[in-house]
């Protein structure tokens, strides 16, 4: 069975003053998917999202939302789109209900359905208690929720969220993640973030972008099934890297200037073997710990190593 493509990005390019911000980007999002667009600050995430939502003209390339070209049929294409930019587009002098009413009408929700849409969005985003409050008086977390509410008020097929948890405290972050979980039941979501835990907890697929180029487009499930694991080892003694490398199951070892060893391994009994070797050779092993999830590992491999920083330095 073929999946319906909601978003198709083809050969997207954009430069600013000769600096290529996005280079030949290609990817698709299908109905029901929650996809994370990952990248470091300045990787080109927001530029990409601005082009997808029609807020920035690309130098070249094509974006189709539900089969409609954003650049040639923007009105029709944007009907299927809900967008929360990095800074929520709020009118602070309005109260929450007034603002959502404006957003609903703006997105073409019929007069008869406006109140229902507002009630539903307030319910989903947990805004019922503040519906009559001025947006200017809300906390940052609630303002973010109002931003998400305006993005889903017209029940779009595709919701694009640009760093929805940035600047929030841990409790607010948790709330927004729970909200994203709810959203994923009814919408396809493209979520831009540089927080890997957020992507791991909410997304089906990840796109890793760096310096404007797409480095990885893979289902999270496939990443998690990777046999490679990483562990951080610390010794009072000073074992040679070659000795650790020689242990069965070890794929690579690197050592930081502070004496932290980072080992990548795929064997089941690698840890036991390290402990045994440590006892045997008096390396005085005193700390063992997993240092990264699969996604973090992949991200560091693709992005950090690419920029010339060793993994061991990156994890200190």
């Amino acid at each position: 069975m073929t999946q319906e493509t909601l978003l198709s990005v083809q050969n997207l390019q954009r430069s600013f003053d000769g600096n290529e911000a996005v280079h030949n980007l290609n990817f698709e999002i299908h109905r029901g998917e929650v996809v994370a667009l990952l990248g470091t600050n300045g990787a080109g995430k927001s530029t990409t999202l601005n082009m997808i939502t029609g807020n920035l003209k690309p130098d070249a390339g094509e974006v189709n939302i539900c089969g409609l070209n954003v650049f040639t049929k923007p009105k029709q294409a944007k009907t299927n789109l809900g967008y929360l930019p990095e800074t929520p587009p709020l009118y602070r002098e309005l109260n929450v209900s007034e603002y959502l009413q404006f957003a609903a009408c703006l997105h073409g929700v019929g007069k008869a359905q406006v109140q229902n849409s507002i009630d539903k969005a307030l319910e989903i985003c947990g805004l019922n208690t503040v519906r009559k409050k001025l947006i200017a008086n809300l906390s940052k977390g609630f303002q973010q929720r109002v931003g998400i509410a305006q993005a889903i008020i017209h029940n779009p097929a595709l919701v694009i969220l640009d760093e929805p948890t940035i600047g929030l405290d841990p409790v607010q972050m948790q709330d927004i993640r729970a909200l994203l979980d709810d959203l994923s039941n009814n919408h396809s979501v493209l979520l831009s973030t540089h927080m890997l835990a957020e992507a791991e907890s909410t997304c089906d697929r990840v796109l890793i972008i760096d310096k404007g180029s797409l480095l990885l487009d893979q289902a999270l499930q496939n990443l998690n099934s990777s046999p490679d694991k990483r562990v951080k080892l610390r010794f009072h003694g000073n074992p040679p890297v070659e000795a650790l490398n020689a242990i069965v199951g070890c794929r690579s070892v690197s050592c930081s200037q502070y004496g932290n060893f980072m080992c990548r391994y795929d064997g089941a009994d690698f840890i036991q073997q390290v402990q045994a070797q440590s006892l045997e050779n008096n390396w005085q092993l005193y700390e063992i710990g997993p240092i990264a999830s699969s996604l973090e590992q992949v991200f560091l491999d693709l992005v950090v190593r690419d920029s010339g920083v060793s993994n061991a330095q990156a994890i200190q």
Partner: protein, 250 residues
């Protein structure tokens, strides 16, 4: 959709204290000015007019100058609302709500323009009503006043279009405000340069919006003036749409 944006922008104008404060200050200053003009008319001018055969009346000597100042104050107030509606909106990232919605840039520009024009209409109407109150005590030439009010309204609302264009060019409110007032000065300079005896120029006089207002304040409704204000408005609205088209996809 245009009406929806107009309604929202107009609501936002009145929800902020700045509109009430500016409106109150403008009314207070213009009220004082009317008082000064009236006092001057009764204490000095009226006695000198008795000997003249077709002497100008209160309408020409008090209300016309008063409406001139209504127009001047109006074009100083308008930029602040244009900056608030366009530049500040962009600075706060709220413009992305409109540009991500299924509406055209023409609708965005027209919506904002009509909201400012509606404000200009209310401002002109309220300020004119101060002058019209004199009708209880003396005979006024309502035809002349209507022509002058129309001139004031067209002068302010056409400048709204120019202010919207300039306010869309930058995301820094102070620069936008300075640029709009700079444009206003250029238009005044065109008038001064065009009317100077050494360098008088019909073209400069036509290009400046000031002589068109001055003529309408005398009570004449000339299609040249109406056409000028409409073309002036249309030019800046088109430039605003073009500017948004370059920025957003439409």
């Amino acid at each position: 959709m245009t009406w929806l944006i107009t309604h929202n922008e107009f609501k936002r104008v009145w929800y902020s204290s700045i509109a009430w404060v500016l409106f109150s200050i403008a009314l207070f200053v213009l009220g004082l000015l009317l008082l000064v003009l009236l006092n001057n008319f009764y204490s000095d001018v009226q006695a000198k007019l008795v000997s003249l055969k077709h002497a100008p009346g209160l309408t020409d000597l008090v209300i016309a100058p008063y409406l001139f100042w209504v127009a001047v104050v109006g074009v100083f107030i308008v930029p602040l609302f244009a900056v608030r509606s366009c530049t500040e909106e962009r600075l706060q990232g709220a413009d992305l709500l409109l540009s991500s919605a299924p509406i055209s840039n023409v609708q965005i520009v027209l919506g904002k323009f009509f909201a400012l024009t509606l404000f200009a209409f209310i401002y002109t109407a309220v300020c004119s009503s101060l002058a019209l109150a004199l009708g209880y005590f003396t005979a006024l030439d309502y035809g002349k006043i209507a022509a002058a009010c129309l001139g004031v309204f067209l002068y302010i609302s056409s400048f709204c279009a120019a202010a919207i264009f300039v306010a869309h060019l930058t995301r820094t409110p102070i620069i936008a405000t300075a640029a709009i007032l700079g444009l206003l000065l250029v238009l005044v300079m065109l008038y001064m340069s065009g009317s100077a005896t050494s360098s008088s120029s019909e073209l400069f006089l036509y290009l400046s919006n000031f002589p068109h207002l001055a003529d309408m304040l005398t009570g004449s409704i000339d299609t040249t003036h109406i056409a000028y204000f409409l073309l002036f408005t249309l030019l800046f609205l088109c430039l605003s749409v073009r500017n948004l088209n370059r920025r957003y996809c439409f």
